[in-house]
């Protein structure tokens, strides 16, 4: 059935719509995109462009901002700019994939729950509710204690922790859509559960789910940062932004650049993601009252 949908008449308007979506971006949306693009580029190419590695120490400890060290130096005299740019890879990469996994599988399970029989819905909901009942930091600590701290473990742990929330959100949206007449028409036509899930319901919940994605991304970044802060996240000498804050916490009292730079990096990324999502035109149109 899916092969039929791709008969050539569907992609065209969809592509065009994405084009117009970007064209309707406000200034704040573009600003957000620019910041995300900057950090993504930093994660991908940054380390190669740096003149000095983040591992090289030797300068003054907690040096202030200077021409040689734009963000100052850390507690071992390493260049903070290099540290932050090298850390981008972990924060942006790990958080992004963990959120993608959480939101994606949460949404899919929610669609399945909404579109199929009641017992599937009941089973899924109860199982995921149980997961929600476990405190998230405790759960993360347990997993890390059990399996050790590695990037795949961190990604999966964060995804499992945030999956139930995104499932609940998507299910609430999907159940409403599922009760609408066009879904009933599709069922009366004889469409299968897969078609109803992916073609009828999914496109109508993507807007709110993207907003949810942004929010959850922020949570995941914060979770990873706090794990790192506890020393259970990314292991030294590598460091994500959260660990950078922890490493240099001593200088907080004197307002040193070493603790402020990674904090600003975390803030800029999370705000940028939310700016982009707020500017998706589907959402703007909905707020104006149209559907």
């Amino acid at each position: 059935m899916t092969t039929l949908i791709h008969g050539g008449i569907v992609e065209r308007p969809a592509m065009r719509r994405w084009g117009t979506r970007l064209a309707h971006f406000g200034i704040t949306g573009w600003l957000g995109l620019a910041v995300i693009a900057f950090w993504a580029a930093a994660a991908a190419f940054g380390p190669a462009l740096l003149s000095q590695s983040g591992d090289a120490g030797g300068a003054d400890v907690f040096a202030p901002i200077s021409a040689a060290h734009w963000f100052g130096t850390d507690y071992l005299g390493r260049d903070m700019l290099a540290r932050v740019i090298e850390g981008a890879r972990y924060t942006v990469g790990v958080a992004f994939f963990a959120t993608l996994l959480a939101s994606g599988s949460g949404t899919l399970l929610a669609l399945l729950a909404a579109a199929s029989e009641r017992w599937i819905d009941g089973t899924l909901s109860r199982v995921l509710d149980t997961l929600t009942a476990i405190p998230s930091k405790m759960f993360a600590l347990l997993i890390v204690a059990g399996f050790g701290s590695s990037i795949p473990v961190l990604v999966v742990t964060a995804a499992v922790i945030y999956l139930p929330g995104s499932y609940r959100m998507a299910r609430a949206l999907a159940v409403n859509i599922n009760a609408l007449d066009y879904v009933t028409v599709a069922r009366a036509r004889g469409e299968g559960t897969g078609y109803v899930m992916l073609q009828e319901i999914l496109p109508n919940i993507t807007g709110p789910m993207l907003a949810d994605f942004g929010l959850r991304f922020v949570y995941v970044v914060l979770l990873l940062a706090s794990l790192s802060f506890l020393g259970l996240g990314i292991q030294p000498p590598e460091a994500d932004w959260g660990s950078l804050v922890r490493e240099n916490i001593e200088t907080l009292a004197s307002g040193g650049a070493a603790v402020i730079a990674p904090s600003i990096a975390i803030a800029s990324l999370t705000i940028a993601v939310n700016l982009v999502i707020d500017n998706l035109p589907g959402r703007v149109a909905r707020e104006r009252g149209g559907r």
Partner: protein, 542 residues
């Protein structure tokens, strides 16, 4: 006693669009003026502007509104608050949405009087009870202690009128107050409204799209279209000799004439036969009956090419009947035969061909079309699904379907959000036609449309039947709509089929008393119809 309302060159705009364009009108004290027009004509916007209010995104851009000696548009926010609910009150279309579900009704009814300090609470309650009596509400002493969900829609509408009248306003604005009600309920509410409006001599503005209702209520009628006044005159003059072209088309559409069925009508072959059909919701008990029974023992025969209308009030089970036939709700007892073969009760058990041959079209085109799919894709899906069309053949068929429902081909690329209500309903029909069905189940397909647009959709339905020979099960609460397109009418109440009347016998009675009651309750397009009804049946309690 009412006040004079003078509106001079009132303009309301939203961005660059003009919603109301230099509208002037005068209402003398104690008179009722009706604002009539299709949706988007600016009638509600005008009514709200009388209270100095513009909806979000709109702006009153010019002109003046005087109520008595007060220039409404020059008032500040505080003075406006003192005016609203006190000198001018508003009765909205949906009373259910206007009451707070968590507080008893009486609390809410006396609120305007208490807030504006016109009466102490005790007196306000006595006055509310007097108003309940005047509005012919049952148990006037105690009905106020109930919560909004504990009274019917018609009663709630009258309770809202009591709320509006408790401060003895000079002007009352009624915004489509009976549109959401069943016909038999509507008569009761209209009667109550008219009595209080007359006795209290308030000046009233009655906003509606239904000319026949307006004919009973108003002294003058003002016809609006695209924010401009098309015609204004006394009700008698406007109904008897409409001068504006648009008014004439409104009058013509208000009472749909029977559409000829042509030659396709009623062959001998039975297409759909329902025998002893019962259905309901909830878990089944030991006797095999569901917890809540909606349909009971329905027998029906539909011949090929025939159109059968099903009428009844809300809750009569008519929509459930369509859902059972469509396979969405398996019946608890009884059998269905389609084209000589047994039709499986469950959707899953039906063959794809069975599914193709029965299509369902829903009332609200807003929710019946997926807002994220283009029209092209909506129409393409049944063609791909049932017939495996693709490429050029698919595109050609989509164009044919758009031609068939008289929509421009250029609409194919649009999303449903960019279409008008009538256009959406045509797409809705076209999607059903894409399956080449034998039977189309139409559930209130014109109810959400304006009169003129609805009449055009009825024309289309009749024409499709003539040309394609499809059969219809046509569900509606509006007797005139059903009469216009159907060969036979089935009357339903409380889930039972009460009567079946053939087209030839429409005018010949006597029929089942409930059919007669329904027929009588439909407002007629002339003045004095409600008065005659009152004389014929003076003591009527809801």
């Amino acid at each position: 006693m009412g006040a004079t309302v003078v509106v001079d060159k009132l303009s309301v705009s939203a961005g660059n669009a003009t919603l109301v364009d230099a509208l002037s009108l005068t209402i003398r004290p104690g008179e009722v003026l009706a604002l009539i027009g299709e949706s988007g004509s600016g009638k509600t916007t005008t009514a709200l502007a009388l209270m100095g209010h513009a909806r979000r995104g709109c702006r009153i851009s010019g002109g003046s509104v005087r109520i008595g000696d007060v220039n409404v548009l020059s008032l500040g926010a505080r003075q406006l608050r003192a005016l609203r609910g006190r000198a001018v009150s508003y009765i909205a279309q949906s009373a259910a949405a206007s009451f707070d579900p968590s507080r008893p009704i009486l609390d809410q009814v006396v609120e305007p009087a208490v807030v504006h300090g016109t009466l102490p609470r005790g007196e306000a309650e006595l006055k509310a009870i007097a108003l309940f009596r005047e509005l012919a509400l049952p148990d006037p002493e105690t009905i106020g202690q109930r919560y909004p969900h504990q009274v019917s829609g018609g009663q709630l509408q009258r309770l809202m009128a009591a709320m509006a009248l408790i401060t003895d306003p000079e002007v009352v604005i009624l915004d489509e107050p009976t549109t959401a009600l069943d016909v038999t309920t509507q008569v009761e509410v209209l009667r109550a409204f008219r009595r209080v409006v007359r006795e209290r001599q308030v000046t009233a503005v009655y906003v509606s799209h239904d000319l026949a209702v307006v004919a009973q209520m108003a002294d003058h009628i003002l016809v609006l279209r695209d924010g401009r006044m098309r015609e204004v005159g006394t009700t008698e003059r406007l109904l008897a000799a409409p001068q504006n072209e648009y008014t004439q088309s409104l009058l013509a559409a208000a009472r749909p004439a029977p559409r000829s069925a042509g030659t396709a009508a009623a062959g001998a072959e039975v297409l759909l036969r329902l025998q002893g059909l019962s259905a309901g919701y909830g878990p089944r008990g030991r006797d095999g009956k569901p917890a809540v029974t909606i349909l009971e023992d329905i027998n029906l025969e539909l011949k090929r090419g025939q159109a059968i209308g099903v009428i009844g009030e809300s809750g009569s089970g008519k929509t459930t009947l369509a859902r059972v036939v469509a396979g969405l709700l398996p019946p608890s007892t009884g059998s269905m035969q389609f084209d000589g073969r047994v039709l499986p009760p469950e959707l899953k058990a039906r063959s794809r061909d069975d599914l193709r041959r029965i299509q369902i079209v829903f009332q609200s085109a807003d929710t019946a079309l997926n807002p994220s799919q283009t029209i092209e894709r909506i129409l393409a899906r049944p063609l791909q699904f049932y017939r495996g069309l693709k490429g050029e053949a698919l595109r050609r068929r989509i164009d044919e379907l758009l031609d068939l429902v008289k929509l421009p081909r250029a609409l194919a690329d649009r999303l449903p959000g960019g279409l008008s209500g009538g256009q959406k309903q045509r797409v809705n029909l076209a999607r059903a036609l894409a399956a080449d069905p034998d039977l189309i189940l139409c559930d209130e397909v014109t109810s959400a449309l304006d009169t003129v647009v609805g009449a055009a959709v009825l024309d289309l339905i009749a024409e499709l039947r003539r040309e394609l020979g499809v059969s219809y099960l046509f569900i509606s609460h509006d007797l005139h709509t059903v009469r216009a397109v159907c060969d036979e009418i089935v009357v339903m109440r409380h889930g039972k089929k009460l009567a079946q009347v053939a087209r030839a016998d429409y005018e010949r009675g006597p029929h089942h008393p409930y059919y007669e009651e329904l027929a009588r309750a439909v407002p007629e397009l002339r003045r004095g119809w409600l008065d005659e009804l009152d004389r014929a049946r003076p003591a009527l309690v809801a």
